[in-house]
Symmetry: C2
């Protein structure tokens, strides 16, 4: 339970941090040396950062970025940042809308109704309950007396909240589907629109090659539209060799740059100093060698090895999966939603994810493996969600200062220094929490990948789902339960003493502590948006890392670029955390309406910040076509469902007989979720044929589509080989079937180059290859 003064102090601190960070951002973002940190997306597109509206001293007006974020249109956002980022920003719009319209009723009507009652006062006077309320609790539903007719207003609030959410979510879903349809029917076609993946290919007949098998099958069922196939092969060795080769090349470039630099330096003279390093781990021990020679040798040694391995892989390690290419968007969309074999465990054809999102490793996980893996992962996730806090508690209990000094006596002298001791004592208990929570997203991503999912965006969504249940269970439920138990320790003792320790009295205790908990969650939310968004906008950490790297490590242009590479939005911890906020806001909207303005502020500031980041900072690694929306939609509904159940419970605690009128609400939510799933979700699974049939103006060439789907470690090595021609019509083609390209096809044959545009390769080459781990 938080006192009013504590609440204001906490809010004030967060606000100060926020103002400070915004000022830092305004100051730093115009420095020329910082531009790659604050406008990387613009720089990568070759655009100039916006002109500063300076207020002098090189400081931008602190709201200039907000103006720019506000003025960008939806089309611009999709064009610049991609549909995924636009959908993520749109999530903030929708959250603002839902909270705003809920507030319209809840804030001006429910707060006065609560404030003019005096339940808390009565309770505080009652010595039996020994309750202790702050003035903030007086404007929440807890201040209304049991069985009071005033509760009707709160009940109406519950309905208002639910219907506002349904209405806005429905409109939002429709809007996103339209965005998606526009994206899919775009006149500039994308390579994945001509492509499907096929899994669970049955074993080949004796002597038959995989390509022959796949080609024969698809030529029979799609005689007019099937172009060619690319068989999935085992890549672990190839990608390892390729990574070694890439490292060697980078090291060589680095060494050459160091050598060039040393020439210009006065100390070594015009000949410069050839850089040297030791061959042991981290260059710490071993023979000292000339770096340029060493890495050149290494490259010469690795390149033929890689080519040999590529050759071997293509013929010997073919798996029961393939990527297949069609000559039109419509044909690929059709094939992707059709059942090809009467048995679902053979020839499963799916729409291809975007090339960079394809998880090559998971392509050959078979049907039955997927079934088992899925179940095992769900089980592990369940235990993680429910019991993750237990090891944290255990570790925290163990890592006390006396324990540490006992088991690690050598740290004693350090620990005995006063300041260090104070610091360790203050932060040690939270260390376990921080470390374990930081590990969680990685763990959940690994779990989701283990399910056998074949696209990165799907893995991220699966992990987000798991994370959402984790935070709701541990933050929302966990805090409510622990908060009640610890906050009401006295009350519990009293009840016990009075022999009055029944299930009902416990429920009432929980009920009584619900509205005070809201105050805690308000500070939680405001810290998140003030400090969190301030930090996000000011990008202090990447800024410092960049400048350090640039100064001490980077020698080549490529290394500098890698140092400021912004990366994509981190949906994985962001989306579930944002969803937690709306879940909290909806849950307390009626019980403690004061949370609403804070929820609103969270999403409103978030809207500006994330829009700014989408437009100017982050560069998507891949596009999923807004597939995050159904995920967000259904989690908001989970939040609403939790909220309705909470209300049901709290109205019961208030002994309000008409609480039965709230019972239909959770069922309505289930029904609404079911209807939305039936009506809207299918268009996220498949591309509607009517959409795929729309006219295409710019089509990629078949070879560019195939290249987009070929893993970089199979493509790139070969460029360095002298006998590239021999290679090209040689063994590599084994894994790529060749059929004559049709002239009447929608896909441009290499001949009509006039129409064909190469697929825009992302600026940063490192991002462009499908993930092979």
């Amino acid at each position: 339970m938080v006192s009013t003064s504590g609440f204001i102090t906490s809010l004030g601190t967060s606000f100060l941090i926020f103002v400070l960070l915004i000022l830092i951002f305004s100051f730093l973002s115009r420095r020329k040396s910082n531009l790659p940190i604050y406008y990387p997306a613009l720089l990568l597109k070759g655009k100039a950062p916006p002109e500063p509206e300076s207020i002098g001293c090189g400081i931008r007006t602190p709201w200039a970025w907000m103006k720019e974020a506000w003025h960008a249109t939806g089309e611009e956002l999709v064009e610049i940042a991609g549909l995924d980022a636009a959908v993520y920003v749109y999530f903030h719009t929708i959250a603002v809308k839902i909270i705003f319209w809920t507030s319209i009723f809840c804030v001006p009507i429910l707060i006065p109704i609560a404030a003019t009652d005096n339940n808390n006062e009565l309770q505080a006077q009652d010595p039996a309950t020994a309750a202790n309320f702050s003035s903030l609790d007086n404007i929440a539903m807890g201040n209304v007396q049991n069985k009071s007719p005033r509760l009707w207003a709160f009940l109406i609030g519950g309905y208002w909240l639910s219907f506002v959410t349904y209405y806005i979510l429905r409109e939002a879903y429709k809007h996103v589907i339209e965005l998606r349809a526009k994206d899919q029917s775009h006149v500039r076609a994308k390579p994945e629109q001509f492509t499907c993946v096929v899994r669970d290919i049955p074993p080949t007949a004796k002597e038959e090659s995989r390509e022959a098998q796949v080609d024969a099958f698809f030529k029979q069922v799609h005689p007019e539209t099937y172009e060619k196939s690319l068989i999935v092969t085992g890549l672990s060795k190839t990608s390892k060799l390729w990574a070694e080769l890439e490292t060697a090349k980078a090291k060589l470039a680095h060494a050459e740059a160091v050598f060039e630099e040393s020439k210009s330096k006065s100390k070594a003279g015009p000949d410069g100093v050839r850089p040297q390093h030791r061959t042991g781990k981290f260059g710490l021990y071993g023979k000292k060698v000339d770096s340029i020679e060493f890495w050149s040798e290494k490259i010469k040694e690795l390149t033929p090895k890689l080519v040999e391995e590529q050759r071997r892989t293509a013929t010997e390690e073919q798996k029961g999966a393939a990527i297949i290419f069609f000559n039109s968007r419509r044909a690929a969309a059709e094939a992707g939603q059709e059942r090809h074999s009467p048995f679902a465990d053979r020839w499963e054809v799916l729409p291809a994810p975007e090339p960079r999102a394809l998880v090559w490793d998971n392509m050959d996980v078979t049907f039955y493996q997927r079934l088992v893996r899925e179940k095992v992962v769900y089980l592990i996730t369940f235990f993680t969600v429910v019991f993750y806090m237990i090891p944290i508690g255990l570790v925290a209990a163990f890592t006390t200062l006396p324990n540490l000094t006992k088991y690690l006596p050598f740290i004693k002298p350090i620990v005995d220094i006063g300041v260090v001791k104070a610091l360790i004592e203050a932060y040690l208990p939270q260390l376990a929490l921080i470390v374990f929570l930081a590990l969680l997203p990685k763990l959940l991503l690994t779990l989701s990948k283990a399910e056998g999912i074949i696209s990165l965006d799907h893995i991220v969504r699966a992990a987000c789902g798991k994370m959402y249940y984790f935070v709701v269970f541990n933050v929302f439920l966990g805090f409510t339960i622990f908060g009640t138990v610890f906050g009401s320790a006295d009350s519990i003792k009293q009840l016990k003493a009075a022999g009055n320790f029944s299930f009902n009295s416990i429920i009432e205790l929980f009920g009584a502590s619900l509205p005070p908990n809201a105050t805690y969650f308000i500070t939680f939310i405001s810290f998140k948006f003030l400090a969190g968004y301030g930090l996000e906008l000011s990008r202090l950490v990447p800024l410092i890392v960049y400048h350090l790297k640039k100064k001490y490590l980077c020698k080549t242009e490529k290394e500098v670029q890698e140092a400021w590479a912004p990366g994509p939005f981190e949906y994985m911890p962001n989306v579930p955390n944002d969803l937690l906020v709306i879940t909290l806001t909806l849950s307390y909207a009626v019980i403690a309406p004061l949370i609403l303005p804070f929820g609103l502020a969270y999403y409103a500031i978030g809207w500006f910040v994330q829009r700014n980041q989408a437009l100017k900072v982050y560069v998507p690694e891949y596009e999923s076509g807004g597939r995050m929306w159904p995920h967000i939609h259904s989690r908001i509904l989970v939040g609403l469902f939790v909220s309705q159940i909470t209300m049901l419970g709290y109205f019961s605690v208030k002994k309000f007989a008409y609480v039965v009128l709230l019972i239909p609400l959770p069922f309505l939510t289930l029904l609404f979720a079911n209807v939305c799933h039936k009506v809207y979700y299918p268009s996220f699974r498949y591309v509607a044929i009517a959409v795929a049939s729309e006219e295409v103006k710019e089509v990629p060439t078949l070879s560019s589509v195939v290249a987009a789907f070929t893993p970089t470690c199979l493509l790139e090595g070969s460029n360095d080989v002298k006998d590239i021609d021999k290679y090209d019509d040689g063994s590599f083609q084994d894994a790529e079937s060749h059929l004559p390209s049709k002239t009447s096809s929608g896909i441009a044959s290499p001949a009509d180059g006039a129409l064909a545009i190469p697929i825009a390769s992302p600026a940063d080459g490192a991002l462009a290859h499908p993930i092979v781990e």
Copy 2:
């Protein structure tokens, strides 16, 4: 609880009835006048009934039919009786297999183990339980003492039973899918293979006609393969007029036949007597008119009315649904599984059911209506299943003889007759049960139709599902509960008196009465197969009805044919009843293995009888392509699940600690059901493209396909109109779009008549029109 002597009497009686019915069948089935009753399917195909293996006196050897049933191959069965009937017979094969392999372990091992223990004896000696066991109970698991190590054998029996079922069901599903694929890729294509239905067509733009809208949409998305559309129209008035016209025609033919007959009879002389009838209801009152004139007038009057109505309907009552035709099987199979609009509540395209199974009335039930209807129907079904017995009990309580004579005093003189009184007293209590149970299938079919399902076979399956839960709940659970309560009334009283009336003691009471209940279910099953299949085979009721009708009512050839028309298999009460038997057998297989031979006999005799009926008697009205199988498969698994839960409960009652080893079984069943659903079920929803792509030799003409899907009441009336040419290119075509037929198409254009065969119209015209109620 059934005593041993009662059990044997009951079995003996059933067996006598069976022998008698088989003898009657052997005797009657060779009489020439009875052939239409015993071999209608053969006669309709123009084949001769099989030659009799007579044993003299015109009696066939009683096992001749069994020989014939045995010798027919699977292909013959599909060819003659259709895939649906073959799947229904195959269900019997599978049940026999499951029960046989279960028996292999349970009968020779579990029965001796139970018989050599003496728990029942001990219980009977114990005055506290006052138990009363028959000798049959001594060979069931109840006779094993609590906590005995002998229970291990029964536990293994549980596993054996489960794995036998899994294995056989999996093989069976594969087999049925192969049958289905063979059927679908048959060289002789069926009209529904070129057809899809489309529902939820959005409102037309102003001034645009439905046909233009549908054609424009599908010409855009399937430019190469779309042929034409047939818009669904409101048919209630048309079909009423058409029915009146058909009645008038039949009556005219009847009257003419009566007139012809009277000419040949000596009484009236060569001129004959013109038949007359009264115009009032049932010909009981009103003006007497000349029948031939009256019905001729009526036909003249109705025909133009019908044509006018057809015209009006086609233009004015167009609904938001259509039937669309493609030029190849592959194209229709593709379209039927594709999402056409990004929104699922628009342009839903589904594979067409077979024309005669299409429920025209439900075609325009909109997406949201279907959602609501489905939920409402499920709710009503739930209440029906749980509470249907209550009104039966109430009515039974009310319809006692004293009550009847009190409220209906005029029946008193009849009731006072001794024999009548005895009869009424004996059967009155069951009258309510019989009437209500007879109404149930009709009610469930009506409920299923109200869901908005568009094919008759699907409606039947939906009703079967509901019925299955009804019989399992009411027969299996109901009898177990009521049997225990009434059978143990004494025990309950004793427990109450002893102040020992706890939940546990009740559970033990249920447990103790489980094996004795098995005896009741054995008599239940044997009555069903002996009397039930005897009656089915001998067809006494249709035989008597036919001869009565033929003698007194039928005058025209068509009327005679209608009198013996065999109709299709009645899957609706048959399938759930058969499923109840396997549920009972599986549930008691381990607890009271004696049930196994009886279950085996049920399905073995059923196999012969139903195979005979499929080959020689029933004529399918429509084909669903074996879609009943997934339904049967999952209901058998429900039975297994019930069985595993029962075992869990009963092992607990036996205080067997290793009962925990049984806990994985129900989960395994859920997993197995889930895997089968994922792997095998999709091929029942959609036609695999690989299957649809196989070569077609005989294709129907487009016009014959369209005609097959046009409701009879729109087709037939027009034949009688003089100005048929004017009509044909006139308004009727409004509801049928016309696009030029493609020459390169898979579907034969009317020109190449050489290849095209008309779709075989079923012998009985009355069966051929889609249902319009």
